[in-house]
């Protein structure tokens, strides 16, 4: 897994990187917008990718968008990326475009 997606950052650092309060960061998790991992003892670990997502969330929130809407958007984007990947996979399988 890439540096971007490895879950290694603790919540205090995420707070510094995003400017969001601990409360907000945990709340967005509760609303299903991000999914940190937990260590055996229960402390949350985030990836740089999570940090990016949180920055997007902060923007949306400033525009007044509710977490429910933001969550749908995020899932749509994620689904979009999966689709892209599937398509690429199909294309590769059929036409061997790589290498």
């Amino acid at each position: 897994m890439s540096y971007k997606h490895k879950k290694v950052i603790s919540i205090g650092t995420v707070n510094e990187l995003t400017g969001l309060s601990l409360r907000q960061i945990r709340y967005y998790e509760e609303r299903g917008l991000i999914y940190p991992e937990r260590t055996k003892r229960g402390t949350r670990k985030y990836s740089f990718s999570d940090v990016e997502t949180l920055l997007q969330i902060a923007d949306k929130r400033e525009e007044g968008v509710q977490t429910y809407e933001i969550r749908k958007d995020l899932q749509k984007t994620k689904k979009g990326k999966v689709m892209e990947r599937m398509l690429r996979g199909q294309l590769n399988a059929h036409f061997k475009m790589n290498k």
Copy 2:
């Protein structure tokens, strides 16, 4: 700065990623092999790059190489990279090879 060099990982996580003990990780800092940053309150933050360096250190140590030697090697490598960059810069300045 890239994800690779941003100092965001705390020592416990570095321990998990490298298998080195906290003692070892701090000791290698004391010997000048790595340079974590500190938060205002004093807790150490490492980058993925530091983690990679620590893995190299672990290998060298298993071969019996002492920290003093390892440090010299690391500095040589770093100097090597700076030289590369300088050379590339010179070349670019003279021949405008980029873009």
